[in-house]
């Protein structure tokens, strides 16, 4: 019996893919590098998923979980010929508890579909990555995805109460629960953001959030980027944590405006989108304070939208930023570093300098309120040596962010893209501890090998004490 025969026996012939074109398609995510798939399988139940894991284990084939493939850090790209397990067929909303504000969902449920479905109950699922109309909740769990509205609400992990996990021994565990603080270690918190390296998530209990009674969205135009960044720092320092606080530079505003015609001011050097939510009086007061801070920082224009078409247009513009870049060049490389919010102006200045020095076309759109930068380099990968140049510049941008006290990734994940940069933020003892944690779940390295931790992270030198040893 071949590996494919074994998979056919588990899920049937029609849910296993192995044609060359299919393997190519599933060997890549939305980032810039491709890997090699040995086979692609589409399980429909946790039990089928466990059976796939068992087959892969028996045949010694690594397992690479995949949602919609919208990831940018290579998390779903098979580093070595592996079994890509696509979770998109497990796309049912199993149950919604309106009073308890929770729902059990399959990992293949699309992020936006969940909020649309919940709208009639006055609830939504808070994390809203820009790819929310395509990305899956399972993928969001894998990367601990963010989005504009994570500023006030927290990223995915704050909205996941439990996960059902198929482990390396093909067992099915529930980690976490609907009741608060389940006894024992918070393994749920470790699985969220583990980028498919600890197991396969087959069901998810999400926390739901009340829709706000009032929303006010401000679009603020600035004549220079520093003034916009200063406004962001000053708003946070003034004790306001808005629901969202987003920034786009001129190049990005122009690309977006060309694409969606949302009425963005294309002459401005930078545009901030700030949103406040809550009770009407609070919303009015906070919007007023933000407008005053922006004025003091030298804003050219402040527009206000309440709920409705104008606000929707603005957000549609913001969330289509990455698609809009296709006008500039066929490929893009998107960064995802985080810096302390007080360092925004300094780091942005450095980022523009690096882009200029490498002669790159750069557009900026980012979650300014969190200090989560997304410089985006538009390029043509067919140009010889271009991708190398883009990646060199990327490393420099990461370096300036880390030197400012920041981190490698705010929401996209480490994957293979930033794996070898991990020593910039963690020393060998830290990486060794993470490798041991991974080994506790998956001692043979079955799940998504080559992701997150650089090779050699598990370092025997730190075994200064053998278990139970008494010299």
């Amino acid at each position: 019996m071949s590996f494919l025969d074994a998979l056919h026996a588990v899920v049937g012939r029609e849910r296993v893919r192995s044609q060359p074109l299919e393997l190519l398609l599933f060997a890549k995510d939305a980032g810039v590098r491709a890997g090699t798939a040995a086979a692609v399988v589409f399980p429909e139940t946790p039990e089928e998923t466990a059976a796939c894991v068992r087959v892969a284990r028996e045949w010694g084939v690594p397992v690479i979980p995949r949602g919609a493939g919208t990831g940018l850090a290579g998390g779903a790209v098979p580093e070595e010929p592996g079994l890509v397990v696509v979770m998109t067929r497990m796309n049912r909303i199993h149950s919604v508890d309106v009073a308890g504000r929770t729902a059990w969902v399959g990992p293949g449920v699309i992020n936006l579909d969940l909020s649309v479905e919940l709208g009639r109950h006055g609830l939504h699922y808070a994390p809203d990555p820009s790819s929310q109309s395509a990305c899956t909740i399972g993928g969001n769990v894998g990367t601990n995805a963010g989005g504009p509205h994570c500023l006030a609400e927290g990223t995915t992990v704050a909205h996941i109460l439990a996960v059902e996990l198929v482990t390396a021994d093909a067992e099915i565990h529930i980690l976490g629960g609907e009741a608060p603080d389940p006894p024992g270690l918070d393994l749920r918190g470790v699985v969220v953001g583990s980028e498919g390296t600890l197991g396969l998530v087959t069901r998810i209990l999400v926390k739901l959030t009340q829709n706000p009674p009032h929303v006010r969205t401000l679009l603020i135009a600035f004549a220079d980027v520093a003034a916009a960044a200063k406004t962001v720092s000053d708003v946070i320092a003034a004790g306001i944590v808005p629901a969202a606080l987003e920034m786009m530079d001129r190049e990005m505003v122009r690309a977006v405006e060309n694409f969606v015609h949302a009425g963005f001011p294309t002459e401005a050097a930078a545009v901030l989108l700030a949103e406040v939510t809550g009770f009407e009086d609070g919303v009015v007061a906070e919007a007023g304070t933000i407008a005053r801070i922006a004025d003091a920082a030298g804003a050219n224009e402040v527009r206000v939208a309440s709920e409705g078409a104008e606000r929707d247009e603005w957000w549609r513009g913001r969330k289509s930023a990455f698609g809009a870049v296709a006008q500039a060049a066929p490929d893009y490389y998107l960064h995802d570093t985080v810096v302390p919010r007080t360092k925004l102006v300094d780091v942005l200045t450095d980022v523009y300098e690096i882009g200029g020095r490498y002669g790159l076309t750069m557009l900026n759109v980012f979650h300014a309120g969190d200090g989560n930068l997304h410089p985006l380099v538009a390029f043509d990968a067919r140009e010889p040596g271009m991708l190398d140049k883009v990646e060199e510049a990327a490393k420099e941008m990461v370096r300036v962010s880390v030197e400012a006290g920041g981190s490698l990734s705010g929401e996209h994940g480490v994957g293979s893209e930033k794996r070898d940069l991990m020593p910039l933020v963690f020393d060998p003892v830290d990486l060794d501890a993470q490798a041991r944690l991974r080994d506790a779940f998956d001692p043979d390295g079955l799940f998504n090998p080559g992701k997150v931790l650089p090779s050699g992270s598990r370092c025997a030198d730190f075994d200064y004490v053998a278990a139970g040893a008494v010299p």
Binding site: D181, L437, V452
Partner: protein, 376 residues
Amino acid sequence: MTGTADRALAPYLETIPDPLPEGLPAVGHVVAPRSVDEAAAILAIASRHGLSVLVWGGGTHQGYGHPVRSDVVLLTTEMRRVVEWLPDDLTVLVDAGVPVAELTRMLDERSQTPVLPEHPGDATVGGVVAAGISGWGRLRYGPVRDRVLQVVIVTGDGRVVTGGGRVVKNVTGYDLPRLATGSLGSLGVIATVCLKLWPRPSFAASIAVSDPVEALAKAYRPLAVLETDAGSWVYLTGTEAEVVAQARALGGAAEEGLGWPDPLDDPGVVVVRVPPRLTPEAVRRVRSIDGGVRFRAAHGVGEVRVGLVSGDGGPVAVLRRWAESHEGSVVLERAADGWTLDPWGAPPGSVDLQAKVKAAFDPAGVVNPGRLPGGI
């Protein structure tokens, strides 16, 4: 304890506070490291000599979980620097031994809050994180683990491991801050913690209500909805105008400020944890305990703290059977001497996996051994 172990620990015995904190068990040695490096040296010695170590902060939650039989008590209270507070970035980096009350007071000067327990007593920041204790503001701001951005853990075998980062949003590497939160010292000593802060809203009100369930459904993002043996209240924060408007919409008598119920001072306390929608049912069951009990229920959270006046395990067992049948738990937080109540109830299905995770951090099994469910 062997003579070699005594000699190895000797350099760390000079810093012990005098008098010692109340309630310390009688053990061979009490050590009080002043730095992460000293804590690491002590734990490396403990692992090498097979000495079990009980980690002690303010001592407010030592009754939580299985009792730990220990050779050494490690006090964290001599590690108490506020390393760096960045008010404009809403983060603070502190040593584990900083008292929660002191941190809260300091942050209040700039109208910021760590959203930690409102009545901390002597609790330390490290202790509250290790025990995973969230304040009443949990309904609005989420559990304490959502505010732990970075931890430095001194592992059972004396490695100094940093996880997370000092930024408010971060997916770089595995989430050790969340793993450490609520780990009850089973992985090692939490030595420093970086917390995400929130601006303290300018106005607050407490509104007495007759039906907390209805109030929870009607209120928008209240700070807390509590029910006790003495009444029910909704707690609101925000600008004065919005709080007043919302208080009016809810009805009931509003008072300015946050009038929290006193902490339970009964000799024993258990915490009932159930899916939030079952909070009213949990309250009904708690109220029907023979002889009456005092309790503090957090609606919308699914948690009811219940005061115990005797070590009679009957009512606890009944509550536990019901809670566990709904995927909840009843956990012992505190008991009087001589009571023999089961602290955890049924261990979770993932107990073997949890044991492996503990071993990854504490291979010799010396730090708070047996504390967790399943005796891990």
